[in-house]
């Protein structure tokens, strides 16, 4: 056994062998008879910054509890405890068969991983630690223990494999794209272990599709690369960096050179360094280099130091200018360049880092290469790496598919344009794939549901139901490219579900599932708190979309994308243009709004995106304005994000406003729009981030305006607005004494800087006050009468003015101020509603609906301004003996004292109005109230409610006076119409129905009447709280 062990150890790298030895020691310590994979795994885990540990953490990028690794350790130690102990202590417990098998596997993998050119004899292949870990993870006993600790060994393995791909330097397979995040500890990590995955994405690991900050990302990444290069330059050994990568290295070198020339680097030795670009000095004629290089270096070096910028090293392995010769190309390459390599090596010995001559400056080399070139260099100039003292610096390719333009990419001159093409071409693709992967994360049920088994079961049941219904709904066709893309990265169970081209279904489903999860999570949290408490310690969060998933899908997806001639940015047709916007991932946890946003962005932002794209895309392809596009999309995304958070609040606002002032639909929607815009900060004047908002309500509907203000205030700050009225004769409150209107405004602002303040009849305010208000509007600050200035905070000011613009006035000659007074008088008097049921008299009257229609017609013929001029007494009189169809005849006889005051004020009022109009942020004109249509609405609403309770057989007769009073109450009071019907009217219908239960028949007539009541209603409560019931004996 001893001999066997030493042979095995020869096949391992020292690192891996060390781990194996430790494991054997551990097994011996525990008195175990054999060394098993479990021992190895435990050993690997015990190192605090060990590779396996990090991979475990990485395999859950979203949530890794600090205690999770501890749980893993614990599970392993428990598993080890369970192993049988040997009878007599063994100094070095032999390896178990399972461990032997794992080692064999590792060896096989290791050999397979070697590139063809470097195929080495079997014995020379040493199993690296990573391979050892992978094969240990494959061991069933290990993966069982990991499962117990809620880790998935395949996921961990995938993470390690990825890191292998990206981290090995030089890469084992030149064609392989670096995928994943370098987590191999030996490579300088691009991000640290604890980094927010989102930041990491931004940092530009190849997997991430830069969602937004693609521009900054590049800069960051390059800055990091430059930093790395500088570090290498400062090292005593291996101080000559060669940047290896597909498209980026040129840019990094340029950045570095720029920094050097700009004297931005002050780190000691690099302070005064001069950069000589060989490409500039010699162009393509490398033969002259042989003779001149030495002179050049010797003359220039002085005391400062020189960096020879070799540019792309390609010429060292491939020289087009000799291709005409008869000799085989490769040999020529070797001969000419070998001399150069030797010459440079000589120079480096003289001036390089190991020369040790402190007096004169130092010589550095810097160069770039693609993976392929670098490998060739190693093959054709085997001594070069050592002689030139090179250090390869991997430059993470920014584009996920760097091999796409290999020819362009390798010529340094074209580097920049290639890069910009990359950015452009891959942008939509990157977005889409990242969105789809994130979508997958979201859709995955196991990720979010953290319930006890019982609740999980319930959840799954409901989920199945949900999916079943979704099956039925969705259409079977897979239409668009986008759909395919989304589909391929969806988790398995959703692959079956049909994908709609617009993704809408999915979003809905996704949302439903999330709601379901939330529901069950909450239920569980409530009913099984015990479960959740333990859960925090041994928290189990498997991420079932392991890293490799995205990694695997990506290349094909991108390939498809990039090769697609109709790539979105190439053809800015409207449909394709909107594609990137649709694909932009919505922020997690707000999928509810996603569908809304999809709709909105389509209409709102498409033109914005389209125009500049068309204008600039020609330039884009020349690579001049590469940054333009991502930036624009970024900005545009910000906009979109804001709209996400505000779309539903907008809808809510609109709904509430429309509900409470339903006769002013247009005004309600424009108010909602204004509020929404101001919240987004893009209203006309709020660019300077002032919080105050000034809205002018024009038009005659005083009650409507006030009610709108109330509704808005309730919605915005959950309290009634502060009303300051400037109208004549309204100012009676004692507490206002000694305070100017401005003082009162200031006081209101101070009390609540988020409130809504209504300045009523501001057109009637005196000049002083108006001036103060105007200044406040201009500056966002306001001085009270004591000269104290206050900021207006986030107050929303509503100014109401009675002035009606001519255009509106022409359409309907308004009399609503008159009507308002009338109705106010009616409603304020104190009245009650009575529902009386009685047997219908033999003579049937036409239904109310019919009669009001005729009435309306009648009135329209007459003069609309007279419509409301009825006399109470008369109305009451004729109700008793009403002649059919002509019960509104009173209109004709009543003389109207038409109030022309408003018209007389007009010239002045209009001036004031226009003055205000210039300063407010927005204005809304309230239409004059159309009393008839209001009445009709109310009547039909009452009849509908009635028939919904009683059925069609019995009709309701609404007394005119009652109707007027209800109208007055609805219009002027603060009770909402719907609210009132729900809480007062319908219950009374129900009550009536109960009482009439036995006596219902067709001859029944129910009348809604009103009667005087001694106690007047309070302000804002202008509708009666209850309805009296009266049933006449039948």
């Amino acid at each position: 056994m001893r001999a066997g062990l030493s042979t095995i150890q020869q096949t391992l790298t020292p690192e891996a062998a060390g781990v194996l030895n430790l494991s054997i020691a551990e097994a011996a310590r525990r008195n175990h008879g054999q060394t098993t994979p479990l021992h190895v795994a435990a050993t690997l885990l015990s190192a605090p910054s060990g590779f396996l540990r990090q991979a475990c953490i990485k395999s859950h990028p979203n949530s890794s509890h600090p205690l999770q690794c501890r749980a893993l350790e614990l599970c392993f130690s428990v598993a080890l405890e369970r192993l049988p102990t040997a009878q007599d202590a063994v100094l070095e417990p032999p390896m178990s068969n399972a461990l032997m098998a794992a080692l064999k596997r590792a060896q096989a993998h290791q050999r397979r991983g070697c590139p063809e050119q470097q195929q080495q004899p079997l014995l020379a292949v040493k199993v690296e630690l990573e391979q050892l870990i992978i094969s240990i993870l494959d061991d069933p006993s290990v993966s069982r223990v990991m499962r117990e600790a809620s880790f998935s060994s395949p996921a961990v393995k995938a993470t390690i494999e990825q890191s292998l791909n990206s981290a090995t330097q030089p890469p084992p397979r030149p064609s392989s794209t670096p995928l994943g995040v370098a987590i191999r500890p030996s490579i300088p990590p691009t991000g640290n272990l604890y980094l927010n995955p989102r930041l990491q994405q931004q940092q530009g690991s190849a997997v991430s599709g830069g969602t937004a900050a693609s521009g900054p990302r590049t800069v960051h990444q390059r800055r990091d690369d430059v930093k790395k290069v500088v570090e290498i330059l400062l090292r005593p050994r291996k101080s000559n960096p060669v940047l290896v990568g597909e498209s980026e290295p040129g840019a990094v070198v340029r950045d570095l050179v720029k920094k050097m020339e700009g004297k931005e680097l002050n780190d000691g030795a690099l302070k005064n360094v001069h950069v000589i670009s060989l490409e500039k000095e010699f162009g393509s004629d490398k033969s002259s280099m042989l003779t001149r290089l030495k002179d050049l270096v010797e003359t220039q070096i002085g005391t400062r130091g020189i960096i020879l910028n070799f540019g792309d090293l390609k010429w060292l392995v491939e020289q087009p200018w000799v291709s005409g010769q008869a000799l085989p190309k490769q040999q020529v390459v070797s001969e000419v360049t070998r001399v150069v390599v030797a010459e440079v090596a000589k120079l480096l010995r003289l001036f390089g880092s190991e020369a040790g001559n402190g007096s004169s400056g130092r010589l550095w080399l810097i160069g770039t290469a693609t993976c392929e070139t670098y490998l060739r260099c190693q093959v054709y100039h085997p001594s070069m790496e050592a002689d030139w003292d090179l250090q390869a610096v991997p430059v993470a390719a920014q584009s996920p598919l760097p091999g796409l333009f290999p020819r362009l990419g390798t010529t340094g001159v074209l580097g920049s344009s290639v890069e910009s093409v990359f950015t452009l071409k891959n942008f939509p693709a990157a977005i889409s794939s990242s969105s789809s992967s994130r979508l997958a994360e979201h859709l995955d049920p196991a990720q979010k549901i953290k319930c006890c088994p019982l609740c999980t079961q319930g959840y799954e049941q409901e989920l199945r139901k949900l999916k079943a219904t979704d099956w039925e709904k969705s259409s079977p066709e897979v239409k668009s490219n986008a759909a395919v893309r989304v589909r391929s990265s969806l988790p398995q169970w959703l692959q079956n579900a049909k994908v709609n081209p617009d993704q809408g279904e999915e979003v809905v489903l996704n949302q439903n599932i999330q709601e379901l999860q939330k529901k069950w999570n909450e239920t569980c949290l409530g009913s099984h708190p015990q479960f959740h408490r333990q859960h925090i310690v041994g928290s189990e969060r498997i991420n079932p979309t392991p890293f490799c998933m995205t990694g695997l899908y990506k290349p094909n997806l991108l390939l498809k994308q990039s090769l697609d001639p109709k790539s979105p940015l190439l053809k800015p047709t409207p449909t394709t243009q909107s594609q990137p916007t649709l694909q932009i991932p919505s922020p997690p946890r707000s999928p509810v709004q996603t569908d809304l946003v999809l709709g909105q962005t389509k209409t709102v932002t498409k033109p914005a995106l389209e125009k500049p794209a068309q204008k600039e895309d020609s330039r884009d392809f020349l690579g001049c304005t590469a940054q333009g596009q991502p930036k624009r999309i970024y900005e545009f995304q910000c906009e979109k994000l804001m709209s996400i958070s505000d779309t539903d609040s907008f809808k809510k606002l609109l709904k509430k406003l429309k509900e409470s002032v339903w006769w002013q639909q247009d005004a309600a929607s424009s108010l909602a729009t204004i509020m929404n815009q101001s919240k987004l900060g893009n209203s006309i004047r709020n660019a300077d981030s002032r919080g105050d908002l000034w809205i002018l309500f024009g038009g005659p509907d005083r009650a409507g305006k006030k009610k709108m203000g109330y509704a808005l205030s309730e919605l915005v700050c959950r309290s009634p607005p502060i009303i300051i009225s400037f109208g004549s004769g309204r100012n009676t409150d004692l507490s206002f004494r000694g305070k100017t209107a401005l003082d009162r405004i200031a006081e209101g602002v101070r009390r609540n800087p988020f409130s809504v303040i209504i300045l009523e009849d501001v057109d009637e305010a005196d000049m002083l006050v108006r001036g103060g208000i105007r200044r406040a509007m201009e500056r966002g600050r306001m001085a009270d009468s004591h000269g104290r200035e206050i900021s207006l905070g986030n107050v929303t000011f509503i100014l109401t003015a009675n002035w009606v613009p001519d255009t509106v006035k022409l359409v309907t000659k308004s009399d609503s101020s008159f009507a308002e007074e009338k109705l106010a008088g009616l409603a304020q008097e104190g009245w009650q509603l009575k529902l009386s049921a009685s047997k219908q008299t033999s003579k049937r009257r036409p239904s109310w609906l019919h009669s009001i229609n005729t009435a309306v017609k009648l009135r329209k013929e007459m003069d609309s301004s007279n419509s409301l001029g009825f006399d109470l007494n008369e109305a009451a009189d004729y109700l008793d003996n009403r002649p059919d169809g002509s019960h509104n005849s009173s209109d004709l006889t009543v003389e109207h004292e038409y109030d022309h005051g408003l018209d007389n004020r007009l010239p002045a009022a209009s001036l004031v109005y226009h003055e205000l109009l210039c300063h407010v942020h927005d204005s809304i004109i309230f239409k004059p109230v159309d009393i008839e249509s209001l009445q009709e609405t109310i009547t039909s609403s009452i009849s509908t409610k009635f028939s919904s309770v009683f059925g069609d057989r019995i009709t309701i007769d609404i007394q005119e006076e009652a109707l007027e009073r209800i109208l007055g109450g609805v219009w002027l009071g603060r009770t909402g119409w719907e609210e009132w019907t729900e809480s007062v009217l319908i219950p009374s219908f129900d009550q009536l129905k109960e009482q009439l239960l036995t006596k219902q028949d067709e001859s029944m007539v129910v009348r809604l009447e009103c009667s005087r009541s001694p106690d007047p209603c309070g302000y804002g409560e202008w509708l009666p709280r209850q309805v009296e019931l009266a049933i006449d004996e039948l």
Binding site: S63, P66, G191, N192, R533, P587
Partner: protein, 271 residues
């Protein structure tokens, strides 16, 4: 400056000094909450200020609702900042939730923390059968509901309540400013995470010395909580109840709090 530093608006002041003090703010604030303390520290310490992800000053893009659904996400952020700045050891001053974040981080990497100064910390805000955290589930539901309904209005109510003063006071205005800077959905998520967190079980694993500072009257954290912390923390700890009022005493009553904070930063607990 690395991406971590940029994302968290990391500021390093007084860089010549050997010892590092990391100041971490709590919910609804940002690093400006330490404005009264920082001038006293820069003379003798290297002061690191940063913003927690989700604060109004950070990019909402970076806010990963999953990562930040538990305090560990923030703890990792803290560790990544320390790692990025290559801080080997620091005195960590955490306010409110950040005190717990520091505690969690110190479990993973005790080597990075020489001590933790907790200001207004609470391992759990909800009452339990054997624990008084000061909040009932219904209170929280109402709070969240109000927040969902109207963030602006909620802010203006929440700020004076937490700070313990009227709307006029500078501290309240300052707090409501930073509070309102947060994107509402993020603020809700953060607050839910905080209020639903229960760190009691991990207290025993905290081995770093902890200085527990507490306002006498704090709406968010009853005084008994500091006693709970003191008794359950795994390492040594010391409690000082200050005569200040409100949950942001470093902002509302700096005269009382700053000297206490300085004393606890300067001196260690006697062995």
């Amino acid at each position: 400056m690395g991406i971590v530093e940029t994302a968290h608006n990391v500021k390093v002041l007084g860089s010549g000094n050997p010892q590092t003090v990391v100041l971490a703010h709590g919910f609804g604030t940002d690093q400006s909450v330490w404005k009264h303390l920082v001038p006293h520290l820069v003379e003798h310490y290297r002061v690191v200020l940063y913003d927690n992800m989700g604060a109004g000053t950070t990019n909402p893009e970076y806010f990963d609702f999953d990562r930040y659904s538990s305090l560990e996400g923030y703890a990792y952020d803290l560790l990544s900042i320390l790692e990025e700045l290559q801080i080997e050891s620091c005195i960590f001053v955490g306010h409110s939730v950040s005190a717990m974040i520091g505690a969690v981080a110190s479990i993973t990497r005790p080597d990075l923390f020489s001590k933790i100064v907790m200001l207004g910390a609470s391992p759990r805000y909800l009452n339990a059968s054997d624990y008084f955290g000061g909040f009932e589930q219904e209170d929280l539901e109402q709070l969240f509901e109000a927040m969902r309904e109207n963030y602006k209005a909620w802010c203006s109510g929440f700020a004076p309540m937490v700070v313990g003063g009227d709307m006029e006071s500078v501290a309240v205005q300052e707090f409501s400013r930073t509070l309102f800077n947060m994107r509402p959905d993020i603020a809700l998520c953060v607050l839910q995470t905080i209020f639903n967190s229960d760190m009691r079980s991990i207290l025993g694993m905290v081995t770093v010395p902890c200085h527990i500072l507490q306002s006498m009257k704090d709406l968010a954290v009853p005084v008994v909580v500091s006693e709970h912390l003191h008794q359950h923390l795994g390492g040594i700890s010391i409690v000082e109840v200050m005569s200040s009022d409100g949950h942001l005493p470093q902002l509302s009553s700096p005269d009382i709090v700053i000297p206490v904070l300085l004393r606890h930063i300067r001196y260690d607990i006697e062995a």
